[in-house]
Structure formats: structure tokens, C-alpha cells
């Protein structure tokens, strides 16, 4: 293990966080929150000092796999810790564990909160809350790779470790160029949604913060009532569309732009993703109608569609209190929480692509029982899935489900009830945000004990980095080759 090369890379990444903290500083200044602005200044300074120290300790050498894993995992851990400092310094949150929870929930685009009265906090800190989601959405390491062309071959592995999905797709020969394209797409979507939300009646602050947490599929809102605060169907439509776009593979947008005559529906994963969303929306709307949960068809389908997209993309915005919904609808939402968005998106959870590969691989096993000598390859969208990918998907399933179950088990030691603990574990490992019952859309995570909160922070990291990078840190042989 070459700790010095790891320190060098992490130092530069911490510098990036320091620069990022200047954005809420400017926001605080705009709203004349002088004390908060100073808190951001101090936080940025602290991050810069730590970054400089790491760079000085480190040495620039080739980073291999172990170093790459440590760099990616370390980036998220350090970013979450440094991101917590502004919450403490502005006295928004008093306990360090709570601050870390809020910060990790931001960077990992989870959107679970320990803040009971959000609107009581300063404008700057609420901007920071959404901004961390935006940075974490496309990925801080991918941003790092996009900004620094000289990282070399090691950057490719870093990129693969962070970009979600069973096999990260490269769009350009150089990974630096691929990362740049992804960030450009992200920026373009951000600009478009901000403009549309402004036109729909939001002020610039609300438009920007909601855009940040929509495109990152994070779900933080500077309002206590989340999106329901605006009670505007138009705003909800815009947010639904952009949540859905953020939950799809970003490289598809590049292909649409790059290849003439190509459209999103030609991608197998996108078709299934769309199909799941349509089917789930229909059933939930029908179920809500059946139980007369809302006045009329329009109202039922408005909330049905919004919540289905919000939870299947792992955003976690609430347009209504879905915890009061009938059981079928709630079950569907829980299932969607486990599926998640597409590979290569900003969404969390297990991903549609893995589901498809996993189910096809399971079907293959069934067929092999009665015709053991058949040679079967797995195809998705006409392309063969290499066996290494199938293997890694199976491993992922087992790890993901076991860790979720263990998480639920640990939380239930002091937890209120089965549904709360099970959905709290699923909502944090899937980077979704709200669960059901005591962690439902109108509630928050404040009542958990410090140990539970730290556990959920780890679950959020595991979910964002898709298990392997964080799981490797717990292996003895990782540290002692």
C-alpha cells in the first residue's frame, strides 16, 4: 500500500472541497448572513490547510488498485467530514455526529435529514446542503478527473470505482475527456432546469437549490414540506421530468447528441427503466383511486407519478405524505427503492441494469438444472454480458441485501418498529432519503442514537460507492497484501 501517493491525491481532492465551500460563502454574503459567511470562510480554510498538509506529506507516484480504492473511499469519507464543519460552525446542528450524518446524506445524495425545522437555518447553509448533493451526484472523483487531465491511467480506475453500474462506459479514448463530457451534460441539465423552475414561478434561490437536489437525485429541499410547499402541478411536472432524466444513464445523452438518428428508446436499460416507472405509476394511481385517497383521478395520478419517480430514482422528494397511502402502493414504493435508477446515472440503489442481469442469470441457472450441458450467454439489448460482469453482479446482490439486512437488524436494537428500521436501512443504503413510519416523508432521522446514525453514515457511503470500494476497507488482506 502506497500511502504517500494516496495522500497526494486525497490532498488535491480536499482542496477541491475547500474551493466548493466558497459557493455557499458567496450565497451567505448575498443574504447578509455575516456570521454564516465567516463560518464558511473558516471551514474552507480548514479544508485548505488539511489539503495542503496531505499534499506535502504525499508524493506523486503511480496509483495501483489498492491505492485507487483507498483514494475513492477516502475522498467520500473526507468530503463528508469536511462538509460537516459548516453545520457545526454556523450552529445549525450542535452534535458532531448529527452534522456528519447531514453532510454524508448530502454528498451521497441520500437526502435523509436530522433537521426538524429546516426553514429555521440560514440561506447559506441550506444552499450548502443542496450543493453537496449536486457535487456528489455526478461524483466528486469524476469532477476531479474532469478537472485534472494529468492523472493518467490511474484515473480510469478511479472513474470506474465511482461511476455506478456493473460496467462503467467510456465515451472517449481518454477518461479525462469522458468525465468532462459527463460534467458538461450535467451542467447543461442544471441550467435548463433552473431556468424552467424560475419560469414556473420559483425564485432563483429555490430554483437553483431544487435543481441541485433533483439532478443529483438527492432530495434535500430548503423547505420543511419539500416540494409540497409550492403546491404547483407545473413545478412538480418539471421536477418529475428532470428526476427521471437524472435517473437514466448520462452517456445516453451523449449518444443522442453524438450519433445521428439514435434515441433513448434504443437502449435496453432505458426501456426497462421507463417501463417500470410507467407500470408502477399506473398501479399506484389506480390503488390510490380505489381507496379514494385523493379527490379524483388527476390528483391521484399527480401524486402517484411524482412519488413513483421520486423513489425509483432514489431522489426522495415528497409532494404528499405517502406514509398514509394504502398498503399496495407502499409496497410498490419499497420495491422501487431497491431497484433504483440506471447504471451511469446519479441515482442510487441496485440499478435496473443489475436487476436485468441478475434475473437473466438466475433464469439461466434454472435452465441449467434440466439441461446442464447447454452453453448459455446472457444478452442485454443484443449485447453479450461478459461472465466477469455477471459474477460481479451476483456478488453485488448478495452483499447489498446482506448489508441491508444487517443494517436493519442493528437499527432495530433501539428502533421503534420493523417497518421503520427496515426502510431506514433501505433508504440510507439506497441513497433515497425518506422511508416509512417514523422515517417517513414528514418525519426525520433525529431520534436515532449516535451509534445508529454513524451506522447509517457508513450505509450511505456503501450505497454511493456500490459496496465494493467501502467493503474492501474492511478486509484485512486489503491493508496487508
Amino acid at each position: 500500500m502506497n500511502l504517500r501517493s494516496t495522500a497526494f491525491f486525497l490532498g488535491r481532492l480536499v482542496m477541491l472541497v475547500a474551493v466548493a465551500e466558497l459557493a455557499p460563502l458567496v450565497c451567505s454574503l448575498c443574504y447578509r448572513e455575516w456570521a454564516d459567511a465567516r463560518a464558511f470562510g473558516v471551514s474552507a480554510m480548514l479544508a485548505a490547510i488539511l489539503g495542503a498538509a496531505l499534499i506535502l506529506c504525499g508524493r506523486r507516484t503511480e496509483a495501483y488498485r489498492r491505492e485507487g480504492i483507498l483514494i475513492v473511499a477516502g475522498s467520500w469519507i473526507l468530503a463528508s467530514i469536511l462538509g460537516a464543519i459548516p453545520y457545526l460552525l454556523t450552529a445549525t446542528i450542535s452534535s458532531p455526529v448529527d452534522a456528519l450524518f447531514e453532510s454524508a446524506s448530502g454528498f451521497t445524495t441520500t437526502g435523509a435529514s436530522v433537521m426538524a425545522n429546516i426553514e429555521a437555518a440560514g440561506r447559506g447553509i441550506l444552499f450548502w446542503r443542496c450543493f453537496t448533493q449536486w457535487l456528489g451526484g455526478m461524483g466528486i472523483v469524476v469532477l476531479f478527473v474532469a478537472l485534472l487531465p494529468e492523472l493518467g491511467p490511474g484515473a480510469r480506475f478511479l472513474y470506474k470505482m465511482e461511476v455506478p453500474g456493473p460496467s462503467a462506459e467510456a465515451l472517449q479514448p481518454r477518461i479525462h475527456d469522458t468525465a468532462k463530457i459527463l460534467w458538461k451534460i450535467y451542467l447543461a441539465l442544471t441550467a435548463t432546469q433552473t431556468i424552467l423552475l424560475s419560469l414556473a414561478g420559483m425564485d432563483l434561490y429555490d430554483a437553483l437549490t431544487h435543481t441541485f437536489s433533483t439532478l443529483s437525485t438527492g432530495g434535500f429541499s430548503p423547505r420543511n414540506a419539500s416540494v409540497a410547499a409550492f403546491d404547483s402541478p407545473l413545478i412538480e411536472i418539471i421536477i418529475v421530468v428532470f428526476m427521471f432524466l437524472a435517473g437514466a444513464n448520462f452517456s445516453l445523452y451523449f449518444r443522442v447528441w453524438d450519433q445521428r438518428g439514435w434515441n433513448l428508446l434504443k437502449d435496453a436499460e432505458f426501456r426497462i427503466y421507463l417501463g417500470i416507472a410507467l407500470a408502477a405509476s399506473t398501479i399506484v394511481s389506480w390503488d390510490l383511486m380505489r381507496h379514494r385517497a385523493y379527490e379524483g383521478f388527476v390528483e391521484a395520478s399527480r401524486h402517484g407519478i411524482f412519488q413513483v419517480v421520486s423513489l425509483s430514482t432514489t431522489t426522495g422528494f415528497a409532494s404528499t405524505d405517502f406514509d398514509t397511502w394504502p398498503v399496495l402502493s407502499r409496497i410498490i414504493l419499497v420495491v422501487l427503492m431497491f431497484i433504483g435508477g440506471c447504471a451511469g446515472s446519479t441515482a442510487g440503489s441496485m440499478k435496473v441494469m443489475r436487476m436485468v442481469i441478475g434475473i437473466k442469470s438466475a433464469i439461466r441457472e434454472v435452465r441449467l438444472i434440466f439441461s446442464p450441458n447447454t452453453v448459455l450467454s446472457i444478452f442485454v439489448g443484443g449485447r453479450r454480458v461478459p461472465d466477469t460482469v455477471v459474477r460481479s453482479v451476483s456478488g453485488f446482490f448478495i452483499l447489498y441485501i446482506s448489508i441491508w439486512a444487517l443494517g436493519a437488524l442493528a437499527l432495530s436494537i433501539g428502533g421503534p418498529d420493523l417497518i421503520t428500521t427496515a426502510t431506514a436501512s433501505a433508504a440510507t443504503i439506497g441513497n433515497i432519503g425518506p422511508g416509512l413510519r417514523a422515517v417517513g416523508p414528514t418525519a426525520n432521522f433525529a431520534f436515532f442514537g449516535s451509534f445508529d446514525k454513524l451506522l447509517m453514515v457508513v450505509l450511505m457511503w456503501i450505497g454511493r460507492l456500490e459496496v465494493y470500494a467501502i467493503a474492501a476497507l474492511f478486509m484485512r488482506s486489503f491493508w496487508r497484501p
Binding site: G152, P153, R156, F157, A170, Q172, P173, R174, I175, T388
Partner: protein
């Protein structure tokens, strides 16, 4: 044709992730070029994906959809170095059709490059055809003969050669003006390269040490001219070659032509028999070159040169160590695995040749020289070599060279008439149907069109 700066980042597609492909991809990517590698073997691509910052595409490069997904149409260069000659050629043809600017194709056999280069170039849209075997053999030969030839180009199906030779202060070309020098029959000094400058010399000109000279001659005669100019070893002692495979055979064959005494040690009995039948003047020994007793009894210690050219690195290493033990003055080895070249250099051998590294070097040269395939157009296309069939309507038909009075920038280098090849002098007459090899400066291309009307060929 679009010409970008040689230093600017280019977009290259490398077909074949073998030793040459991998080596090139790594080198070119480090230089800042954008690389896409195509191969059929996912395991090889995985290794590339792990170690290099390049895009990989799985599939056969001879299939249009694969080339399409590698975006070859917008690439600056396709480098087809897979192990299949046919696939490489097909890929070049398809890629050209899709719009790639240039193609490099590697073929295995030396003979294909010597005899059919122009055919391949025209038929398959190949800009640079190279054979690893030919490049390696040429290097080995030059080392054994002590020549300072930098590059060789084969013309008229291998009957005529153009050689670029490095001149040191011992070379007669740097000591006397050209007029006072008697060149062997059927050879000609075409040009000097002085730094970036290309000079077509008159009788009074003299080259400077450090220049390169360009010599044209028939394949039979050019060796003598080369020896004279580069002060190569006059007499070459006996040479022992271990391994009678492609490289060993070609080296032996070419050395035999200049009258060197050669022994080949070949382990495979049928192959040894075949060699003996094919080349009656060679002494073919059936045996193991890593057997000290055999080497002793074959008097390898009396040889001037020992060349270990088998296909196995381990055998070559062992044989070389034994030859060193027997105090052979010059010991050479062929090394397949390019990355072990450094280890070999510790052995104090005379020279080590890695076919892969040699091929990669040639391709690198091609890229560095702004994509100039032949050695004369190295000077950014300042001059070209053309082959023309003399048509009846040509004003040059039936005229002697003296009468033709061609400008200085146009040299009639060689004439192929039926099976006869010669370098013409002033009183020689050109006839209809002669194949003439022309060396032309850029500014005289118009004159060529006038005197030798015909299809424009490079």
C-alpha cells in the same frame, strides 16, 4: 489530404492488442494521443483497460460494425497490427472507405512487402505496409555486416532498392567530390540529407560527416555500393545461426548472397531437411543450439558471429550464453518479449533485436515524420519516388538520357526491361514498355507528367 502537425494530439485506432499493439498504445497514449484499441480477446482488452487510459472495443477489426464503434471514420490513423494479415488488410480497406486518413498494416512475411507492396497499397488503401520480419532481418544483416544503413525501400517488386545510409567521416562520400568517385555498376547516389535539407548533388558536391546518403541500385549491385560508402567490414567471417525459422532463413539467404560462410543449427528435422534442399550452399545442422557439446563439435568458437534467432526467448538466451562462453566475438539475439529487452542488455551481447520493438519504432517514426511512408519523402514530401510504365505516346520513349536533358530535380534511377534491370547512363535509350523508377523533387512533378504521362502513383 489533411496534414496536422506531428506533435499535435491525434486520434489513433490500434487493431490488435498483442505485443506490438499494446506497446504502441501505451507509448502513443503517453505522448498525448487519443487511442482506441480493438481486439477479439476480452482478456487482452481487460489488461489494457487496467493499465492504460485508452478506449477498448471488443471484436474483429475486419468487421465494419466493430470499426464503426471504434469511430475509425474520424480517426487520423488506423494501425492494423493484429496477428492475421488478412484481417489487417481488410480492416485497412474498410477503414479507408469509412474515411480514416491513413492506415498502417503489418504483415508477417517479408516477401509480401518486398514483392507486392504497391499492389497492397493500391488495392487495400495501405499507406504504410510493414513486415516485422523484414524490418528485423534488415537490422540483423546490417549489424552483422557492419553497415550503417538506416532504412531500405524495395521498388519494382524488389528488383531495385533504395537505401538510406548514415555517413561518418571515414566514408569516401565525405572525402571526395562525387565526380572523383567510381560507384559500382548499376548503382547511383541519388541525394544527400543534410539535416532537414534534401540535396540532389552535382559532380562537384561532397557530403559532410553526419549526413545521410540515398543510394539507388539493383538488388544485386547495391550491396557493393553500400559496403563502399559505409565502410562496412570487407570480409565477413563465418556466421552461425541458431534457428532456421522465418527470420533465420531470410538472414542466411541474404548473407549467402554476399558470399558469407554460414551454418544454420535447426532442431526440427523436417525443417532442417527442407532448408538444406532449398539452399544447397548453406551448411544445415540438425541439432539443439543449447547443447554445448554440439556447439563445440561444430566449431562455433571459430565463428565471427553467432546469431540466436529461434522463436523461443529461453533458447536464444541459453544459446547466447554458451556462445559467449566459447568467446565468439559477435553474439546477437532475437527477443520476442519486448519488455525483457532491458534484462538482455545486462548480458553484454553485441545486440538484441526485438521484432515488436522494431515494428513499434518504425510506426513511431512514421507518425513523427508527419506520416511520410517512404524514406525519400521524409523531408515533408520534398521529393518522391515514382514508378512509371513508358507509354508509346511518351516523349521520353526512344530517347537517350543525354538527349532528354532532364532537369536536375528529376533523376531516372533505374529501368526494368523484361527480366533485365539496370541503372541507365547518358547513352542508354528508354524504350516503350520500360518500367522506369524516377526520383523527383516536388517542383519537377510537372515535368514528369509531361515526359512520362501515366497514372499518378506514389
Amino acid at each position: 489530404m489533411v496534414s496536422k502537425s506531428a506533435k499535435g494530439p491525434h486520434n489513433f485506432v490500434v487493431m490488435g492488442a498483442g505485443e506490438v499493439g499494446f506497446h504502441l498504445a501505451r507509448k502513443l497514449s503517453k505522448q498525448g494521443h487519443d487511442i482506441t484499441v480493438i481486439d477479439t480477446d476480452p482478456a487482452k482488452l481487460e489488461r489494457i483497460d487496467d493499465e492504460l487510459d485508452v478506449l477498448t472495443v471488443e471484436g474483429n477489426g475486419a468487421h465494419p460494425p466493430v470499426l464503426m464503434s471504434a469511430k475509425v471514420g474520424t480517426a487520423d490513423l488506423l494501425i492494423a497490427v493484429s496477428s492475421s494479415d488478412e484481417a489487417n488488410l481488410a480492416a485497412a480497406r474498410i477503414a479507408k472507405h469509412m474515411g480514416v486518413s491513413r492506415t498502417i498494416v503489418r504483415v508477417g512475411e517479408a516477401q509480401e512487402v518486398i514483392a507486392d507492396r504497391r499492389l497492397f497499397e493500391d488495392l487495400f488503401g495501405v499507406d504504410l505496409l510493414l513486415s516485422t520480419q523484414l524490418l528485423t532481418t534488415t537490422r540483423i544483416l546490417n549489424t552483422i555486416r557492419g553497415l550503417s544503413t538506416v532504412a531500405v525501400e524495395y521498388l519494382a517488386g524488389g528488383k531495385v532498392q533504395l537505401r538510406k545510409i548514415h555517413l561518418d567521416s571515414d566514408s569516401p562520400l565525405t572525402q571526395k567530390p562525387l565526380r572523383e568517385l567510381v560507384m559500382p555498376n548499376n548503382t547511383l547516389v541519388v541525394a544527400f540529407f543534410h539535416g532537414e535539407e534534401l540535396i540532389i548533388p552535382s559532380g562537384n558536391d561532397r557530403a559532410e560527416a553526419g549526413d545521410d546518403a540515398l543510394i539507388l541500385g539493383t538488388t544485386d549491385a547495391i550491396g557493393q555500393a553500400e559496403k563502399m560508402i559505409s565502410h562496412g567490414r570487407e570480409v565477413i567471417g563465418p556466421v552461425v545461426i541458431a534457428g532456421g525459422g522465418g527470420t533465420g532463413k531470410t538472414v542466411a539467404q541474404m548473407l549467402e548472397r554476399v558470399g558469407v560462410k554460414i551454418k544454420i543449427i535447426e532442431r526440427d528435422r523436417p525443417r532442417a531437411k527442407q532448408l538444406a534442399a532449398e539452399f544447397p550452399n548453406l551448411e544445415v545442422i540438425h541439432g539443439d543450439a543449447t547443447d554445448l557439446q554440439l556447439l563445440k563439435s561444430e566449431r562455433v568458437d571459430a565463428a565471427q558471429t553467432f546469431a540466436a534467432l529461434t522463436g523461443e526467448d529461453e533458447d536464444n538466451l541459453m544459446a547466447c550464453l554458451l556462445a559467449q562462453e566459447l568467446e565468439v566475438p559477435q553474439v546477437l539475439a532475437l527477443v520476442q518479449r519486448a519488455e525483457t529487452s532491458k534484462l538482455w542488455s545486462r548480458l553484454n551481447l553485441h545486440d538484441v533485436f526485438s521484432p515488436r520493438a522494431v515494428a513499434a519504432e518504425r510506426i513511431q517514426d512514421y507518425i513523427d515524420s508527419d506520416f511520410s511512408a517512404n524514406i525519400v519523402s521524409l523531408q515533408r514530401g520534398a521529393a518522391q519516388v515514382l514508378e512509371r510504365r513508358l507509354a508509346e505516346a511518351s516523349p521520353a520513349a526512344g530517347v537517350t538520357l543525354a538527349e532528354m536533358d532532364a532537369p536536375r530535380g528529376l533523376i531516372v534511377g533505374a529501368v526494368v526491361r523484361g527480366s533485365k534491370v539496370f541503372v541507365p547512363r547518358g547513352r542508354d535509350r528508354l524504350e516503350v514498355n520500360d518500367l522506369v523508377i524516377l526520383f523527383v523533387r516536388e517542383e519537377e512533378l510537372g515535368t514528369v507528367r509531361l515526359l512520362f504521362p501515366g497514372q499518378e502513383k506514389n
